[in-house]
Amino acid sequence: MSAVRVEGVTKRFGDTTALSDITFDVGAGELFGLVGPDDAGKTTLFRVLTTLLVPDAGRATVLGHDVVTDLWELRQRVGYMPGKFALYADLSVAENLAFFASVFGTTVAEGYETIAPIFSQIEKFSDRRAGALSGGMKQKLALSCALVHRPDILFLDEPTTGVDAVSRREFWDLLGTLKSAGLTIVVSTPYMDEAARCDRVALVQGGKILAIDAPANVGRRFPRPLFAVRAKERAALLTVLRTFPHTASALPFGETVHFSDRRVDVPADQVIKELRAHLGAGDLHDVGIEPIAPGIEDAFIELMGEPAAAA
């Protein structure tokens, strides 16, 4: 059974189309990622799925409940962690948790088993004001508050933005723990490297879904052989690569430039040989060229360039 079913959902704000005919499913027990930049529509989608916004067109169900007509039943069963820290800074850790439990008509004791893997890590700070917690601890408190009423599905809007790499990794480990307890999780992130932790990801841009796939498969959507190219002169490398007559793409990727040739049927050895000659003539030094497997970000960029690309 699908935990989330979205069919043709569209949402406009004035002249802006935040969501444009979005369709996808999330399976029960799945860890599903929405990957895309700010303004892609991720937050709007979360607000529709958590019954906070009514779509202009289309239909969405969560756990079998329609998000428009069954909102009261649904709200009891959904946990939502918004992107902005939404706890009460002047209440203590324990008070925040008790407040969220009471809003859902339950108690911390009843929900304790569910939140234990996370809450136990911050329990010793129970009397501290939420506003005085570190970023990583705030995040764990927010997650505890979103789980205290024992929801069947969890929506997390950019939970790791602004958090350092150690806390981020611990957070993803926690999501793995929650998933193995049977919870369905929908999580958004602007960071492509986090997509690998999901079962499946939807690449989202400009209110549309560019592609949906398992993280390991997304790279295969890149249509040409790809090469990582490096040279001592980094700014010049890009310029010279773009003057190569067969360049399809040349984009900086960290320390290297990812290059693809528009002649897809020329063997890699031949491409490397021609490219090396071209870069040498361009007065670049310490040149390195190696074939690589395209990643999620390569595919994302390629799909962004294809208007009206279907999922």
């Binding site: 958090v163 790499a165 150690v166 602007p190 960071y191 700014a235 984009l251 320390e255 994302f300």
Partner: protein, 245 residues
């Protein structure tokens, strides 16, 4: 020539040593990434380098000036861009440029010339009278970066410069950074995202107030036998005294 030279730079707050004998140099025209977990001492170190906080011990020069005795001249020779707050939303593009030009002490004619150059380079001429709040995030970031460079500083400090933008815009932004560095301006980037750290010529990683590792991204990955900079970072930070749940 080195744009930044820090030697045993130290800052204590009461009994707490936020920055503990930090030494490093950044060359002119280098793109240098300054990494560290929250609470590692990054912000304190940067506040000293930009002349906002006096060191307890040690010394540093930025753009050739001593941060203790010449902080005013340091501040005049640096640019600063924070991702979210460096532009005024309720001013137009042109007004923001004029405001920053004025703050950095440029005369009207220079502001006009450099302002036009910025608008032309960014292809913003059509939007010169648009309110900044109406611009897409990627445009704002490019404008904020250009404005931080309007007084032609020797060093520009960028705080998570490409957070939140799409992957194409992020690359356009890095190309701007590389061009700026190739013209001789030193670029000092603070971030905790591998996405951004990988683009730097060299990075340092701060743990508990000290620099725990420094080198090119490639050399650090090799040194730690790690597949990614995130992995290097996590290994270093997990050994931290301040590592908490």
């Amino acid at each position: 020539m080195n744009a930044i030279v820090a030697q045993d730079l130290t800052r204590r707050f009461g009994d707490f040593t936020a920055v503990d004998r930090v030494s490093f140099t950044v060359a002119q025209g280098e793109v240098f990434g300054f990494l560290g977990a929250n609470g590692a001492g990054k912000t304190t170190a940067i506040r000293m380098l930009i002349g906002l906080l006096a060191p307890s011990e040690g010394q540093a020069t930025v753009a050739g000036f001593d941060i203790r005795t010449d902080a005013d001249r340091v501040r005049a020779r640096i640019g600063y861009m924070s991702q979210r707050f460096s532009l005024y939303d309720d001013l137009t593009v042109r007004e923001n440029i004029a405001l920053y030009g004025g703050i950095y002490g440029l005369d009207d004619a220079t502001i006009r010339t450099r302002g036009d150059a910025i608008l032309a380079e960014l292809n913003f001429s059509q939007s010169r009278d648009a309110m900044v709040k109406s611009l897409p995030l990627g445009w704002k970031q490019k404008l904020a970066f250009s404005v931080a460079l309007i007084h032609e500083p020797a060093v520009v400090f960028l705080d998570e410069p490409t957070g939140g933008v799409d992957p194409v815009t992020r690359r356009q932004f890095w190309e701007m950074i590389y061009q700026t560095a190739a013209r001789g301006t030193t670029v000092f980037v603070t971030t905790h995202y591998q996405d951004e750290a990988e683009y730097c010529d060299r990075i340092s990683i701060m743990v508990d107030g000290r620099i725990a590792a420094m080198g090119t991204p490639e050399a650090l990955k090799e040194e730690f036998g790690a597949p990614s900079l995130d992995e290097v970072f996590v290994r270093l930070a997990r050994g931290s005294a301040g590592a908490t749940a």
